[in-house]
Amino acid sequence: MINRRNFLVKSASALAITFVVPSLLSGKAHAKKPLAQKVTDKQSWGIHVDAGKCVEGCTACVDACNEENGLTGFGRPETDSQWIRKVTVKNKTTDKITTMPMMCQHCENPPCCDVCPTGASFKRVDGIVMVNQHTCIGCRYCMMACPFKARSFVHETLTQQNTNAPRGKGCVESCNLCVNRIDHGSETTACEDACNKAGHSAITFGDLKNPSSKVRLAIDSNSPRRLRNDLNLQQKVFYSNI
């Protein structure tokens, strides 16, 4: 546990390290994992969404995701990709209205990976469910199988993609928890950053296996639920206060 004094001492030393270490490390990578090392199951990335803090009408996370991954639409909402979207729901019993972001739920038992004929839909050992676009043939079976409508098919020729988010016509794509950032040592996703910046802090990303990670603290103090728990998919995206 981090008590106050401990925190201050550590923060001070951390700040010192912050300004010394970068000159020693190559680039700005402050990764736990060296770039050459393969990801392991010692980590399991996940997200906690506090719907109570999410604000209706705010699309900061969506905009940030689009920016991060270069998701420029063609003005055709039915075929344009959406990796993250805002959904507003009303409880059937209590009439309580909540709004929240929806994205790939990163299931432990992902139906998309079960049905993918080539194995292009896959779960990385650290729990990220993503599409290997080198082997995706564009059959869209994963989109039929996903209970959360998390995936989009690239319906038209793309140009000017972002270097860190390759994507192209004829493949299926979805939220990959900003895998490029994480592999380079970032501990936040674009949506989390944006939500914090907007002052809502509804999205918390982190390592579910680390008991003191911010996402674990959020989960442990909120007793959140998973969507469609009846399907037993063991998603790594949790929702509180829906």
């Binding site: 139906p111 039929m144 996903c146």
Partner: protein, 391 residues
């Protein structure tokens, strides 16, 4: 037809080339449609992120279902030892191959990356029903080829009944696999039931028999031969049995869904509130496809050809709608992401019934593929001896 020989199609040259060029033209249109779709991307089609499988899949699934169904006639002879059908067995196996190829080509040409077919053929995820189906389809193709060979080559004819039995077993598994593509999808209420597998099997029996009868009629017209009364009588009886089996499994499917409360909504959508989909279901699938044909056949006590032809056509139209209701209807109903909640708003259409209006390109691809099946049949029966003729 105890004494018979197998003959090539001997029709006048103009008829042959007329049909050939007509089908060839449709195939070229199909190629052009698919090339355009692939070049522009799928946004030019009616398919989108809501309705991800559309008209090409309706065509493909219908053709694959037909492919396993037309083998029926051969299976009667080899697996059930009905001598009556033996002369027709090679033709039946040929139809099966042709429809299988056509269905698969449509599926492949609709992929987002058809250029990566080699990936699909070399990289497998063995948990995927699609991957199983790739083996089932290619295995079916090989078995059928060997089966035709054993039937046409006198030297190996003693093996034909074994291969025929294998082909029969394989086709049952194959149609189970096709049905399971949908049946194993837990995400969508309209699909997640194992009843879809036997439903697909009885559908294949019905549509396959209808297609076989229609093609046999056309060939007998071109060849100037008569279909023996015994065959017509038997096909009529089969049609009645298959129509009843279809009605039974269709009722079972919907009753199951109506009983499982989380699946009630999608069932009432298809049966009552689905607008176009409800119309397609009652008018197309049930009316034109099952009830009217059943009525026609039950009253066709003299086993006349005309009502049988008519019901075969109606059955196939109904079959097309049946597959459409399953594929499109199942996707049109929005996913139940929040069972306890009503979705008020979403930027990704989570709260509305999805609509689908197919483009001319998807239709072109489907028609082109279907024409491919017919042209394969035409070319092969004209050049190889497939058509039984009395001695």
């Amino acid at each position: 037809m105890s004494e018979y020989t197998l003959q090539k199609l001997k029709t006048c040259r103009y008829a042959y080339w007329g049909i050939f060029l007509f089908l060839g033209f449709l195939i070229l249109l199909g190629i052009a449609s698919s090339a355009y779709m692939e070049h522009e991307g799928h946004y030019v089609t009616g398919m989108n992120n809501q309705i991800v499988w559309g008209l090409p899949h309706i065509f493909a699934v219908t053709l694959i279902v037909i492919a396993s169904g037309v083998l029926n006639i051969a299976s009667m002879s080899s697996a059930f030892n009905k001598k009556l059908y033996k002369p027709l067995a090679p033709l039946s196996a040929l139809f099966a191959i042709a429809f299988l190829i056509a269905g698969l080509i449509i599926l492949v040409l609709d992929l987002g990356r058809p250029d990566r077919l080699i990936v699909a053929m070399t990289t497998y995820n063995f948990k995927s029903i699609f991957a199983w189906n790739i083996f089932l389809y290619s295995g079916f193709f090989v078995i059928l080829s060997i089966y035709i060979w054993t039937m046409l080559d006198f030297n190996v004819s003693k093996y034909s009944s074994y291969v025929g039995k294998l082909a029969f077993g394989w086709r049952i598994i194959l149609t189970t696999g096709t049905g399971s593509i949908f049946g194993f999808l837990v995400a969508r209420e309209a699909y997640s039931t194992a009843v879809l597998a036997p439903l697909f099997i009885v559908m294949s029996l019905l549509y396959g028999t209808a297609v076989f009868y229609l093609l046999l009629r056309i060939i007998s017209k071109l060849q100037n031969i008569n279909i023996p009364d015994e065959i017509v009588t038997n096909i009529r009886r089969l049609m009645i049995i298959f129509l009843l089996a279809n009605i039974y499994f269709l009722i079972l499917y919907h009753i199951t869904n109506l009983y499982i409360s989380k699946q009630v909504a999608v069932t009432t959508f298809i049966l009552l509130e689905g607008g176009n989909y409800t119309t397609m279901f009652w008018l197309g699938q049930v009316g034109v496809g099952l009830l009217i044909p059943l009525l026609f056949e039950l009253t066709n006590k003299e086993n006349r050809n005309f009502p049988l032809t008519l019901t075969s056509i109606m059955t196939l139209i109904g079959g097309f709608f049946a597959v459409a209701v399953i594929i499109i209807g199942g996707q049109a109903f929005p996913l139940n992401i929040f069972p306890d909640h009503t979705i008020i708003s979403s930027s990704f259409f989570d709260n509305q019934i999805h609509s689908y209006s197919p483009s001319i390109f998807e239709f072109g691809l489907g028609i082109g593929g279907t024409s491919l099946a017919l042209i394969i049949i035409l070319v092969l029966i004209t050049n190889l001896k497939f058509i039984p003729t009395k001695k």
